[in-house]
Symmetry: C2
Amino acid sequence: MMRKHLIGLLAMVASLAMAGPAFADDPLRSWNDGASKTAILSFVERVTDKNSPDYVPAPERIATFDNDGTLWSEQPMYFQLMYTLDQVKAMAPEHPEWQTTEPFASVLRGDMNGVAAAGEKGLMQLLAATHSGMTTTEFSQQVSDWIATKRHPTSGRLLTDMIFQPMLELLSYLRDNGFKTYIVSGGGIEFMRPWTEAVYGIPPEQVVGSSLKMKYEVGDDGIPRIMKLPELNLNDDKDGKPVGIQGHIGRRPIFAGGNSDGDFQMLEWTTSGDGARFGLLIHHTDAEREWAYDRDSSFGKLDRGLDEAPGRGWIVVDMKRDWNTVFPKQ
Amino acid sequence: MMRKHLIGLLAMVASLAMAGPAFADDPLRSWNDGASKTAILSFVERVTDKNSPDYVPAPERIATFDNDGTLWSEQPMYFQLMYTLDQVKAMAPEHPEWQTTEPFASVLRGDMNGVAAAGEKGLMQLLAATHSGMTTTEFSQQVSDWIATKRHPTSGRLLTDMIFQPMLELLSYLRDNGFKTYIVSGGGIEFMRPWTEAVYGIPPEQVVGSSLKMKYEVGDDGIPRIMKLPELNLNDDKDGKPVGIQGHIGRRPIFAGGNSDGDFQMLEWTTSGDGARFGLLIHHTDAEREWAYDRDSSFGKLDRGLDEAPGRGWIVVDMKRDWNTVFPKQ
């Protein structure tokens, strides 16, 4: 009797241990209970359960996430734009002509209206000056050096601490369930790759982003190098996201997460495939802990997505309501 | 005493079991003992042994392989060229004008000299006609249908059986040792992806190749699709291979295998990185079991590579001498 009781107890303990974190612990602990969290958990259960009609074999469990505004903040401006402005300032001593040439002069005066007035053409000039003309190795080093110490202008946190704890948990939860997680961002692919593995657990080969053309050459020193050229290769935004996904991954994702109308086509492409699909939009509703913006924002404008999400079955995450934590504890 | 003996025996059995296939079995059984095989085994041991000065952490163990002539045959012509010619013939009834328009007319007459005379421009016309103007899904289906039954003109084997057994073993051996194996081919990325996972164990997202530009659009039927456009995006050959590697993988490989001068820059880029590196060239020396060709071949010309391999420390695999089996047993 005593022995039977002990064996029963041991079996119970063993089954608890085997159920793992999902039972003993909450894999999405920064997500409040509610429709968003329930939808995620239910989707993952359905596509991983071999007896479910929605079962998806592991190799096809591709999940793609936007970066700016989806995995980390994007206010008061895209962080890569901060990098661009900082680089222009750092390079200015070697470019005296920039003092009187737009859009560089506006950057050096700290006149953001002047930068904005230069429009898309001006932005491309700034990008070309700071993102091309060096080797991929040099660029990677420059980004690594900058991001190691760069702090956010209002929070004072390192930029790599301006990431969303609930999204880190979602990435881990998906990976623990056999998903391959990708970034598919309008941001620069070479700007993200130096740090995404350490920060998000996403290796360089699973980062898709906007890119410049490149050229392989052997230098006069006999050393091979890959030069970054001042010419756009892929604008990985809007219509460009499904193209970037097809080019890099070659499979249609079954899960896509974004936060702006730049992600619309990625979610549309993802969720229009056969079988179970998941579209997720982060709605920035929390002016106190992060920022509140949507239809009228210069960065991360979310308008069409908000209108069409319900009809398309996309889950809109209300940051204020759905997340009990925004940034990782420090 | 007896008990101690038994425990010792058990420990021995356990250690044998743990040593795994590398001990109990030969992971490269289609490779004859010799310098090539020894170099491969020694390299993999050095980069995977934590106590070796050449140790490389698993995420950085990237291995890239050319496809045509490296993983499968490329004679009497690239298999993708066979596909192109077959497609022109299949599409001809809808294009009566091709009967009198070069290079199509030559294809339809079976006049390969005429096709060759049309040069690179003619080839691009044939590629545009057969590889663009459809969705990525349609193209993938066309390739899958064709390759399921297409037999090699001289061997009579399915093309997917014209693969090299020793290279299959090498791919598996590398993966078993924590490598991520990629194809980096001058061939079309979308032409390879439908079948590389089944044939080589290499998933679509680990295939890099030449590509056409693509366009995302929503059809009149409301269904999103990605169209293949008749414009080259990347020529993933020669200088283009390191560019394709950087664009897709974002890390420099530590192991690269090829067979022609189109692979020269990939091997150069790979083996000029810091630390232990491996460059491998397949030399087609076996006219009896496969083909013998190098410096003067129209397909898979190997000239500079042969000259420079010794000085660069690249291993040249002599197919006739180094491989005891060429194709998988049927």
